[in-house]
């Protein structure tokens, strides 16, 4: 499965929890959140657009770093 890496402006536990929640709602995703480095690595068949739109729901600034 393709692995996508995103940079998300997370500053605390609450931020990363909110990212966890929205990703869990999307389903069929496996992900790891690296809070200190503000990175999220997502393992999924979903399109990057879909992943981006989902992450944007958190209201944080996000950028796509590419496939890993």
């Amino acid at each position: 499965m393709p692995k996508h890496e995103f940079s998300i402006d997370m500053t605390c536990e609450g931020c990363s929890n909110s990212v966890t929640h929205v990703l869990n709602k999307l389903r069929d995703v496996q992900f790891e959140i690296d809070l200190p480095n503000k990175r999220v690595c997502i393992d999924s068949e979903h399109r990057v657009d879909t992943l981006l739109a989902t992450l944007k729901k958190t209201g944080k600034s996000i950028s796509y770093l590419g496939e890993k």
Partner: protein, 79 residues
């Protein structure tokens, strides 16, 4: 006919731990149609939202906050 009505609702929000969470919520919710103003309190775990009842409702606002990945519930005193 230009007169718009403003109602106020208080939504309990759990899961916010810092100011950045507060700003994210205020940023997203204030963009929603019908929302006139929102003030989120980290200490009180809630958000006070002024809205136009013709365009949105407390249920809508609650689910918008849930969509962002926070636990939200409507305050009992809001009716």
């Amino acid at each position: 006919t230009n007169q718009s009505v403003t109602q106020v609702t208080v939504v309990n929000i759990e899961g916010m731990t810092c100011n950045s969470c507060v700003q994210s919520i205020e940023g997203v919710i204030s963009q929603k149609p019908g929302v006139k103003s929102i003030c989120v309190s980290l200490v009180n775990h809630n958000g006070t939202i002024k809205y136009d009842p013709l365009l949105t409702c407390p249920e809508d606002l609650k689910s918008a906050i849930e969509d962002m990945g926070f636990d939200a519930s409507l305050s009992a005193k809001t009716e």
